[in-house]
Symmetry: C2
Subunit: 164 residues, 2 copies
Amino acid sequence: MGSRIEQACVERGLKMTGQRRVIARVLSEAADHPDVEELYRRASALDGRISIATVYRTVRLLEEKGILERRDFGGGRARYEPTEHGHHHHLIDVDTGRVIEFEDPEHERVLKAIAARLGFSIVSHRLQLFGRKLEAAAAPRPSRRRSSEPRADQPAADTDELAR
Amino acid sequence: MGSRIEQACVERGLKMTGQRRVIARVLSEAADHPDVEELYRRASALDGRISIATVYRTVRLLEEKGILERRDFGGGRARYEPTEHGHHHHLIDVDTGRVIEFEDPEHERVLKAIAARLGFSIVSHRLQLFGRKLEAAAAPRPSRRRSSEPRADQPAADTDELAR
DNA sequence: ATAGGTGCAAAGCATTTGCCGCGGT
DNA sequence: ACCGCGGCAAATGCTTTGCACCTAT
């Protein structure tokens, strides 16, 4: 049977081609937040007959269908993760690029209150913490510059980590 | 005498050329979060002998000097605002692209606690709310696609608004 | 059969940079 | 005079697209 993401595709009536099935599988098995190039690398390893253009197209399609969510952690490349995963946010280790997920219901409440005070209802929101591990000397990493706020270093493509 | 930003430049020993003075002035007078093209437009109106490359270089330099802060509200272009402005965040109206600033000390406390719980200290953070005005029909606006999360529409370059 | 998907290479955008003449200090 | 700056155009890096062929349904 197909991967979790593949099923979501079928449910939405998407035509399931070979490459889509592979990409869907890669996404289903990803526990991190890969960027397009990384997805392409993993998919190619499984099939080889996939072009990066297709990955871009697929990833965009799935995002429009609400199956994927696009993230921007700075570094000028979009990264993706499957939807679901109840609301959570990201803490990016500025020294290693590692991404840690977390959630906090109280926090959500505060946000809703803030928005209400300004006369708005929240459609969505994004919260990213850029932090440094406590009491740990930092070995800085190279940087290329581009995009985003804290001008933090590039996130390493797959050093993500879950901390639900 | 020079604009507020120009003084900050002098304090940091930057060579003050004609174009820098103009850009500094434009920035000092901006109450919104203009992107580079918009800055270029405003600066050109004042002087004409300024190239967009210079705006890019200047804006980057000022950011490195801590005089400016780069923002990414989605839409694939960086936007800038002068530093200072005690810590604040942004609420982007998804229907109009308008940006409203706000701050909330309690919120900051919650964040610090979250980070500590994960064993991190916060280097910086970003919080953006994408919301819709309460009880107001929405007239959606055109979109070009690219970058960032909520895939909200492009922020109009200057419909920002303050709400300290 | 046929609407839609895919590969490839070219196009697009925002942003950066090499080169070289010019202008602050 | 000297070193940094600005203009211009070419180069980048990520992402999208036009076109011709291919394939699920």
